[in-house]
């Protein structure tokens, strides 16, 4: 029986080596993220995590499937909806939870909150809430690596909304011109807050053509099937390896199960249509991988349930430890406006 993954380690990382991913590990990693975010949602109502939270429940497969290819030295950046990316990249759970609770030992010392995560030790180089803003920054990181002759991979996660910002094409173009092998991962969940695609893109808009016209690779896949995410990401990385310097955009179709921002579900607001909701409710990435695992090995069911139970205990322990922790002290307020 596999040990319950430690909150601060990422079992999927073992697969950043070309070895095909192991579905059980991927599933457990998704489960860990799901369990953590569910717990955040539940405890958010206590009003002790006093910062906006954008949960990625439903989108775990993209985070896990992509990060399965990455080593700690590889670099990831993200945006407002970044818990999954942070955790899948091996980010410190306790530091993240402490950040949500505004504690001094939060990953930003409580200064950022959920929308600002950072754990460079694990290769998570930052998330910020301005849509599109980390795209060129991630490009700069990748450029630095290239200039230094490094061979780290740099990955930028973003939603399809970010592609509407001018900075997306500017970044893509610069990546192509400067031949910087940035991997862009677009999670297309069809919504920008409550706004569907219709008022944002023409029905004739073709994202694949848009991307390719820059001179960039484009791949796409089912973002709710973690094996598909792994496979497509592997193909993208192979294409990048075969043609060094050419960046790549991978688009994954997915769906968020919770509201845009906050701890609740909000389908009663009717901004998403019933058919879509039903379609996607049948495609929960965890249900898919679990079903697959159990179909192949029925005895696994109990193991997975046990793992989930342990994960719950783990996160509860983390939350309790964090709540007992200290708040940033007022005297630290001015610290670091300028770096020394």
């Amino acid at each position: 029986m596999s040990p319950s993954p430690k909150p601060s380690s990422n079992p999927a990382l073992a697969y950043g080596t070309g070895v095909p991913p192991d579905l059980k590990h991927l599933h457990l990693e998704m489960l860990r993220i799901r369990v953590i975010e569910r717990r955040i949602a539940e405890r958010y109502r206590e009003q002790e995590m006093r910062c906006p939270v954008h949960l990625s429940i439903g989108q775990e497969a993209v985070a896990v499937g992509v990060c399965a290819h990455l080593q700690p030295a590889d670099k990831v950046m993200s945006a407002h909806r970044s818990h999954g990316h942070y955790l899948a990249k091996g980010g410190n759970v306790r530091a993240m939870i402490a950040e949500l609770y505004g504690r001094a030992d939060g990953c930003c010392g409580g200064r950022g909150g959920s929308m600002h995560l950072m754990d460079r030790d694990s290769g998570f180089w930052g998330a910020v809430p301005i849509v599109g803003s980390t795209l060129p920054i991630a490009l700069g990181l990748a450029l630095a690596d290239k200039q230094c002759g490094g061979n780290a991979r740099t990955v930028a996660f973003f939603g399809e909304g970010a592609t509407e910002e001018g900075v997306f094409t500017e970044t893509l173009n610069l990546a192509c011109v400067l031949r910087v092998p940035l991997l862009f991962i677009c999670e297309n969940n069809g919504f920008s807050v409550y706004t569907p695609l219709a008022p944002r893109r023409s029905p004739d808009f073709r994202f694949s053509d848009y991307v390719r016209s820059h001179g960039c690779h484009y791949f796409s896949g089912d973002g709710n099937d973690v094996e598909a995410v792994c496979r497509v990401t592997g193909e993208a990385l192979a294409a990048m390896h075969a043609d060094p310097g050419r960046p790549c955009v991978v688009e994954f179709a997915t769906w968020r199960y919770y509201e845009h921002c906050g701890p609740a579900q909000d389908d009663h607001l009717n901004y998403r249509n019933q058919a879509e909701i039903e379609h996607w409710s049948m495609r929960d990435p965890l249900a898919i991988s679990r079903a697959r695992l159990i179909a192949a090995q029925p005895g696994l069911e109990a193991e997975l349930d046990l793992a989930e139970q342990r994960q719950r205990q783990d996160i509860d322990a983390v939350i309790e430890a964090v709540r007992a922790g200290v708040r940033p002290s007022p005297e630290t307020l001015p610290r670091g406006v300028f770096a020394p």
């Binding site: 599109g132 509407e164 007022p330």
Partner: protein
């Protein structure tokens, strides 16, 4: 004040919605655009239901393209429309400053009038709370005020929100309409129907002889709370000048007050260095108005706004800080500071009903 005398009790957010509906109704040239404008949350309730009332042609959703949207409303205004553009946070408007500063602000001037006017209103939501953090709780009001050609409005009451919103839509110039998030839920009497409050005039929100406290937007609320307390407990009487419009600035009203009180405190929800509070202090001193003591600014420290409530508490000046600043200036009453009432509930929400998470 032009328009109706009848009033009803509305929240600041409802007052903006009401004003927008009045504008849409009265003037077929008006339209509203911005990401989320017709969505179920309706920009914190300021646009709720407008799309179904006025149609999707006049109340438009939009992609994430702040820069082009700003150019779009400029062009539409040149073409004879009167657009209202909404940003859910001032911070997002940073992507559109080229259009605002180089084009909207200068168009009428730089073409010597022959290019036409740019009657647009750009709504920007400012303000703190619920861990918004460094990139969702800036002010930038002094930035906009610094640019010749932009009118900058920052009302503090529901009635002004409505009256100045309508005046902004009717103005021939680009107007930056700043809404402090914490004001959205505050309630007050609002004239029904058409109601216009001219831009460019301060409002004396309270009259007193001991000190002039200049403020705008949510700072007015803090100043008024401090004034109530000071009057009740320390017998200190504030003149509270609600600036309402940072550009053009009605300096005369400020000067008249300072001439009377000979003491000045400026409260400004923004960083201090090169901010609006400094401008008020500079004008008063330049004008050589007699002061009994050096003027005082009550502002944010010059540091980004942190998310954690523990830091937010010291970052944002409070009503009590205003009282203390005044007490020091006036030289009495400070002994009451210890029993200055704390706002009920946590420091990072304006009231217990404030919903979070946004």
């Amino acid at each position: 004040m032009n328009g109706s005398a009848e009033t009803r009790e509305l929240s600041f957010a409802e007052a903006i919605r009401d004003a927008t509906a009045v504008c849409l109704q009265r003037d077929p040239r008006v339209f509203v655009i911005g990401l989320g404008v017709p969505d179920p949350k309706g920009i914190f309730g300021t646009t709720t239901g407008l799309a179904s009332e006025f149609g999707a042609d006049r109340v438009l959703d939009a992609p994430l393209s702040e820069n082009a949207l700003t150019g779009l409303v400029i062009g539409a205004a040149l073409g004879g429309r009167r657009p209202i553009l909404t940003h859910q946070r001032v911070d997002f408007a940073l992507l559109s400053l080229e259009q605002i500063v180089n084009q909207a602000a200068k168009w009428f001037y730089m073409f010597d009038g022959r290019g036409g006017t740019v009657p647009i209103v750009i709504r920007m939501i400012i303000g703190r709370g619920w861990g918004q953090g460094p990139q969702h709780a800036q002010s930038l009001s002094s930035w906009f005020a610094h640019i010749p050609g932009l009118k900058v409005v920052a009302p503090a009451s529901p009635a002004d929100a409505k009256g100045m919103f309508i005046a902004s839509v009717e103005d021939e110039n680009p107007v930056i309409f700043l809404e402090h998030r914490w004001l959205h839920g505050m309630r007050g009497p609002v004239p029904t129907g058409y109601h216009r409050t001219p831009l460019g005039k301060c409002r004396v929100a309270r009259t007193g002889g001991d000190v002039t406290v200049v403020a705008s937007a949510h700072s007015v609320i803090e100043a008024m709370r401090a004034a109530d307390f000071a009057a009740a407990h320390a017998h200190i009487e504030f003149d509270v000048v609600d600036v309402r419009c940072l550009n053009p600035l009605d300096f005369e009203t400020i000067a008249d007050s300072v001439r009377k009180t000979r003491r000045l405190v400026v409260v400004d929800d923004d960083s201090r260095h090169c901010g609006f509070a400094g401008e008020v202090v500079a004008r008063v001193c330049e004008a050589g108005l007699p002061l009994m003591a050096p003027p005082v600014r009550v502002t944010w420290p010059d540091c980004p706004s942190p998310s954690s409530a523990a830091l937010a508490e010291v970052f944002y000046p409070s009503d009590r800080d205003v009282f203390v600043a005044v007490g020091k200036l006036v030289g009495r009453g400070l002994e009451h500071a210890t029993h200055f009432p704390k706002r009920p509930g946590p420091v990072d929400v304006p009231n217990l009903e404030f919903p979070g998470p946004f």
